[in-house]
């Protein structure tokens, strides 16, 4: 495959005697949305933390654009163009969108004073890139005035700053209404159209199925399934697969409730 942004090979992570990940292979190519699903405790969070460089794998290899990288850490992860949008979004809600996008890496002159105009232009560009535009608010609106989906948009715009190639979205649609979820999907599609890749983690199988091009199902620290949208066909197939994982053999009883 060309333009492979990152590839994990046989990643294992153990906490003492307990294996959180028992040999996971995962790759993300440029311009694709990969959906990562799995039950609680399947190892999703550990995998995200490894990608972000916050956690070191016990064994395994990490390749950035085909090149093996040693001493993987948070700094290397950023250099590789990987940005994580945390589940709680980490926004300062009483501040403007601009200030949030540049939080911790403000554009300043030699004396430390803000380059107000440059920040504004840059913020406008990022917001345009993900289709986050409105007549109701602009870059200097207060984040607290925005809805849940729009706040997610601020977090995504922030993650896209610095030419990040891979954006990890950790459950971005949890606790959002349908309209708000649609907004987040819109931002994600625009980001993909702009050539960014996205790793989309979610609990709602239907949401993940709608937005993703390819799926990775984790189960007890292993990859249980890797399939493209075409191979799966429908969200129901994915739901059935997940239920079969959770209750082997008992799927017939459970599936009527789950597929509605």
């Amino acid at each position: 495959m060309q333009n492979r942004i990152i590839e994990l090979k046989d990643i294992k992570k153990s906490y003492g005697q307990v294996y959180a990940l028992g040999g996971v292979d995962l790759h993300v190519d440029q311009g694709e949305v990969v959906g990562l699903v799995g039950d609680n405790g399947a190892g999703k969070s550990t995998l995200i933390k490894i990608l972000a460089g916050a956690v070191r794998p016990t064994t395994g290899e990490i390749l950035v654009r085909g090149e093996p990288v040693s001493n993987w850490n948070a700094g290397r992860s950023r250099e590789a163009g990987i940005e994580t949008v945390f589940q709680d979004r980490a926004l300062a809600v009483q501040q403007t969108i601009i200030w949030n996008i540049f939080m911790g890496r403000e554009l300043v002159g030699p004396l430390g004073f803000l380059k107000v105009r440059k920040q504004r232009e840059e913020a406008e560009r990022l917001m345009r890139e993900i289709g986050f535009t409105s007549k109701v608010f602009g870059p200097s609106s207060i984040v607290g005035q925005l809805s849940g989906g729009e706040r997610q948009g601020v977090a995504i715009a922030r993650a896209m700053y610095n030419q990040s190639d891979l954006i990890i979205l950790d459950e971005p649609t949890t606790a959002l209404s349908l309209t708000e979820t649609a907004k987040v999907f819109h931002f994600v599609r625009q980001a993909r159209a702009a050539g960014r890749s996205i790793l989309f983690i979610g609990h709602n199988i239907h949401h993940v199925f709608d937005i993703s091009d390819r799926f990775v199902v984790l189960d007890r620290g292993r990859v249980a399934l890797q399939a493209s949208k075409a191979e799966l066909g429908s969200a129901e197939a994915l739901v059935r697969f997940m239920e079969e994982l959770a209750h082997p053999g008992g799927a017939g009883v459970q599936s009527t409730g789950g597929t509605v």
């Binding site: 945390f86 501040q95 004073f113 007549k135 607290g144």
Partner: protein, 351 residues
């Protein structure tokens, strides 16, 4: 079953539309009008200005003769710089989500160092530098206790206030220091003299307010202060050194208190062991009367400077309006409560 699901799915869309309409109606959209944008961006400051104007108008109606004399205002202006020098850094501390009650003792300590240096025959300018260094060191000590020893800022700074004041009293045994030669020095002419009937200290204090306001709104440090006060976890995740930012705000209060200490000595050419004690509550009240939010994350330097004038004027105002001194405390309380109610109505707290 499906009906409920549909309704659940649709109602947020309707709510959002209503929400949009409300936001447009309130003028929170991308503003075209410059004036409207000014009022939106400076709501708390404009609010505290309105409080001041209303209060002055009431006093004026009460006794037009007294309140049309410049001397009435000059008396307030002489004491105002002492308050301004501490109120401005206090806005930083409150924005970062902490409180500092140790500044009265720091005012006393720094003023003491200044008085000792001048008494020893050195130039007052050296005295100012020594006082500022004292203030910075004390501020760093207080900040260390709160930030790195993890004490509650309310209690730790209160304790420091008592302890430092105690040290002053132990060492001076209550004796004041009079600096007879101070008014003749060039340094005093520059920092403490008069300029067309206006005390020069006021001009220095206003310059201080302007610079600090600019740093608060346009400098990386000011931005980080807002971020840490708004969401410390987010600030940490995005690479801001949260503890260092907090420590710096406490050091800044030390610096401001030192300038206030020097300003207080320059008013009467005398340092008293109680210097700074009377400023604790008025200065704190000024911060909030000025429109800085008590919960952290947002504030206004200009507004709090206006608030300082409001609070400083109450005492002279009440007496000037012809009421007895017994009314002063009541009016302090009344104006503080009324302006807090006003600000609560004027600004929304976002979560």
């Amino acid at each position: 079953m499906t009906d409920t699901a549909n309704r659940d799915g649709q109602s947020p869309a309707k709510a959002l539309d209503a929400d949009t309409v409300r936001r447009v109606a309130e003028g929170k959209h991308a503003d075209r009008s410059r004036l409207r944008r000014f009022f939106r961006d400076h709501r708390p400051a404009v609010g505290s200005f309105v409080v001041l104007v209303v209060m002055l108008a009431c006093f004026f109606v009460g006794n037009p003769e007294v309140f049309s004399q410049w001397n009435m205002y000059r008396a307030v202006l002489i004491g105002l710089p002492v308050v301004l020098f501490v109120v401005v850094p206090l806005v930083y501390v409150v924005t970062v989500g902490e409180i500092d009650l140790s500044f009265p003792a720091t005012i006393g300590m720094a003023g003491w160092v200044f008085a000792l240096v001048v008494q020893a025959g050195y130039d007052p300018f050296l005295g100012i530098i020594a006082a500022v260094l004292t203030g910075l060191v004390l501020g760093l000590c207080v900040g260390w206790l709160v930030v790195y020893a993890n004490l509650s800022s309310l209690i730790a700074t209160l304790g420091m206030n008592f302890m430092l004041r105690g040290l002053i009293q132990i060492n001076t045994e209550g004796k004041s220091i009079a600096l007879v030669g101070l008014p003749k020095t060039l340094t005093f002419q520059i920092f403490g003299g008069q300029f067309f009937g206006i005390p020069v200290q006021v001009l220095w204090a206003l310059l201080f307010v302007a610079i600090c306001s600019f740093i608060y709104n346009r400098h990386r440090f000011g931005v980080h202060v807002h971020m840490v006060g708004d969401n410390p976890d987010a600030a940490q995740q995005m690479g801001i050194n949260v503890k260092l930012v907090r420590l710096k705000t406490f050091a800044f209060v030390g610096l401001g208190a030192a300038l206030a200490g020097v300003a207080a000595v320059m008013i009467n050419y005398t340092w008293w062991p109680t210097s700074g004690d009377g400023y604790l509550l008025p200065a704190l009240a000024s911060v909030f009367v000025g429109g800085t939010a008590p919960w952290g994350g947002i504030g206004t330097i200009i507004g709090s400077a206006i608030g300082s004038f409001t609070v400083s004027f109450i005492q002279s105002g009440v007496v000037g309006a012809g009421l007895s001194g017994f009314y002063v405390q009541f009016f302090y309380g009344l104006i503080i409560i009324l302006s807090l109610l006003g600000h609560r109505w004027n600004q929304v707290r976002y979560r």
